[in-house]
């Protein structure tokens, strides 16, 4: 069995704001093994980024309150001091962000920024750190790394910047790489390259990856396990194959229906989930997806637990609907609107 790296137990992240308490993340639990890729999927405001940033201690602040535990190799990262957290950031857990245009500091050379990351944790001299930076840039597929290492970020294209970000995040060989919407700001043609790169480097560096996205298509190939989040909680979790072929949450159906697919008859329009995600200050009673769910019924006023309701072990969901009913009715939503109208 693979080495267990991370155990998140009943994590809750609440922010005190002027409008009230924002329950950004509520009762999220999951585990991560070395070499595994976990996809966290959800709309904006579903709590997926907050979850990821909390693993890095990036949500810490006077207004933030945490509950539960984030155990990294047995150590609860929620309990350690800011100073101790610094040693984990970049070194044990690396992170890349959505927008490579703004995530690199425009006034420093790319190489300098990678060298800085290396030297934050390894006490090596500049020359050796620089050589490693060149090596890393080569590994992420930057052509002529020896000269590009001295370029400024604005001299890089979007895809190259994201590659440089990946090089930086991997520079201290972290056990976990968190990729927060790494492809959202990139051209479609570059997206696949970046995903492929992350998948390949994960093996080279023997790391685990947490890939955060709103696009199930992005994680379809790369993820071993998928966790669908809605309104700060996990609504469905399971092996990628199970979530794609036997989705149990109507919200997951909606997400699946919103990806264009070439292997199915083309609908007139892609499915779109009606309404907007609920406020995290005054969340609806019962199932959080109830107000937008076409199949909601009386029982949904009470919130279902995240538990296994199907035959497959490890496939959990939060839905009261009968499994056979769901298997019969979900295709309408997944296939798109022309089928629904018919």
């Amino acid at each position: 069995m693979a080495e267990r790296l991370l155990d998140v137990e009943d994590l809750a992240v609440h922010f005190a704001t002027e409008d009230g308490l924002v329950r950004a993340v509520d009762g999220v639990s999951f585990g991560l093994d070395r070499g595994q890729v976990l996809g966290i999927v959800g709309e904006s405001g579903s709590g997926k980024s907050v979850t990821a940033m909390t693993l890095m201690g990036l949500t810490r602040g006077v207004n933030a309150k945490f509950e539960g535990a984030v155990r990294y190799q047995g150590k609860d990262l929620l309990q350690i001091s800011d100073r101790e957290m610094q040693d984990y950031r970049g070194n044990e857990i690396g992170m890349i962000f959505q927008d490579p245009m703004t995530s690199l500091n425009p006034v420093y050379r790319v190489g300098e920024q990678i060298v800085e990351a290396i030297r934050a944790h390894d006490h090596v001299d500049r020359r050796r750190a620089r050589r490693r930076a060149v090596e890393l840039l080569k590994q992420v597929g930057i052509p002529n790394p020896e000269s590009r290492v001295d370029d400024f970020p604005h001299q890089f294209s979007g895809g190259m910047r994201q590659r440089a970000m990946i090089a930086m995040a991997l520079s201290c060989n972290p056990a976990i790489l968190i990729a927060d919407e790494p492809t959202t700001a990139l051209d479609v043609t570059i997206q696949a390259q970046i995903i492929e790169l992350i998948g390949r480097l994960k093996d080279d560096f023997d790391s685990a990856v947490i890939m955060i996205t709103h696009d199930l298509g992005v994680v379809a190939d790369i993820a071993d396990e998928i966790m669908v989040m809605y309104a700060g909680r996990v609504v469905e979790r399971g092996a990628t194959r199970d979530v794609f072929y036997d989705p149990q949450m109507p919200y997951t159906w909606g997400l699946l229906g919103s990806i264009p697919r070439l292997d199915r008859p083309r609908p007139e329009r892609l499915y779109s989930i009606k309404g907007t995600p609920p406020s995290l200050i005054n969340a609806p009673r019962g199932c959080k997806f109830r107000p937008r769910c076409p199949h909601a019924f009386d029982k949904c006023m009470e919130e279902p637990k995240l538990e296994q309701r199907v035959e497959t072990a490890g496939h959990l969901d939060r839905c009261w609907l009968d499994v056979t009913f769901k298997r019969e009715h979900r295709d309408a939503m997944i296939a798109g609107e022309s089928t629904e109208a018919a």
Binding site: L58, D99, T102, V107, M168
Partner: protein, 317 residues
């Protein structure tokens, strides 16, 4: 890079010329500005005035007069209408005082402005930030002529608590300690306004920069908060301060600290400008304007160069 510099220098020279021309035209248009009458004095006959007008060239068309004045300015024989003293000589005489005032005050206001800005941004929302905000606003609101006089009243010779000598410039070549002692009060008085202002601007810049994505990246790398602040936050936050400082410094160097120089009787270029304006004395006004414009345009070129150094995105390639 070289073409950029040449273009900027030519532009700067043109700006200086345009400024003197505008000053000249304004002077001609303003009523009561007939210099012949002033030179002639109260009891002059009409013939006296006409003679003066002719001998000084005031009966020439204005462009001839302007050209004449420019020529004299560059030859160094521009002469005041009222005191008949050489303008360039007067400006050169005032420069040590003005330079001493500007450099000392500049160092004080830049240092404390940055210090105040950083402290209040780092402790944003807490008591120290609020106190600094209040003091900064008081500093910005206190006019120099008032603050200067109050400072003299309380701390200068003959005042309530005699700590400092009262006004006047003491040449550094004669006694550096006395020079410093004489200037300390004017430095602080002049710097107070700028400290408050720079502190407020920098505080805002830092608070903006802290929310930048690349600061989050720096944090995610595991850098220490101090390193993040100095290397990633301050670097970008200081860029607007550079512009402010360049232009303010040039302005004071060019004789802009008229009030401070006058209140403390420093006999600098600014005070000379004030006197000349009072006397409606065109040649010194032209001279001081040219002198001031020179510093402003020079420093704006320097600021541009420094900008390109600070921010690689705007480097001309």
């Amino acid at each position: 890079m070289l073409t950029f510099l040449i273009r900027r220098v030519i532009g700067a020279a043109l700006v200086c010329l345009a400024v003197t021309f505008i000053v000249f035209v304004i002077f001609i248009v303003v009523p009561g500005g007939d210099p012949a009458q002033r030179i002639a004095g109260k009891n002059a006959t009409q013939q006296n005035i006409i003679n003066i007008r002719h001998s000084w060239g005031f009966d020439q068309p204005f462009y001839v007069q302007y050209w004449d004045m420019l020529k004299k300015m560059f030859n160094g024989d521009l002469v005041s209408y009222t005191s008949q003293q050489n303008v360039v000589g007067q400006i050169v005489q005032g420069m040590p005082a003005t330079f001493s005032l500007t450099i000392g005050a500049g160092i004080i206001w830049l240092f404390f402005g940055i210090l105040v800005g950083v402290i209040s941004a780092v402790t944003a929302g807490r008591l120290s930030d609020r106190l600094i905000t209040v003091f900064a606003l008081i500093g910005i609101s206190m006019p120099v002529f008032w603050l200067g006089i109050v400072a003299r009243y309380y701390f200068a010779e003959g005042g309530i608590a005699t700590v400092f000598p009262d006004g006047e410039y003491y040449p550094i070549s004669q006694n550096p300690a006395q020079w410093f002692w004489h200037l300390l009060l004017p430095w602080v008085v002049l710097a107070v306004l700028f400290i408050g202002f720079y502190g407020r601007v920098l505080r805002g810049n830092i608070l903006d920069a802290i929310n930048e994505d690349y600061v989050r990246t720096a944090k995610a790398k595991g850098l220490s908060p101090r390193r993040i602040l100095i290397k990633h936050v301050l670097r970008t936050s200081l860029i607007p301060i550079v512009t402010l400082f360049g232009l303010d410094f040039a302005g004071v160097l060019g004789g802009g600290a008229i009030l401070t120089e006058t209140v403390f009787d420093l006999h600098g270029v600014g005070q000379y400008a004030a006197q000349s304006i009072n006397n409606f004395d065109l040649p010194p006004i032209m001279g001081v304007t040219m002198y001031g414009a020179f510093f402003i345009v020079t420093f704006s070129v320097l600021v541009d160069l420094f900008y390109a150094y600070l921010d690689p995105r705007i480097r001309p390639s």
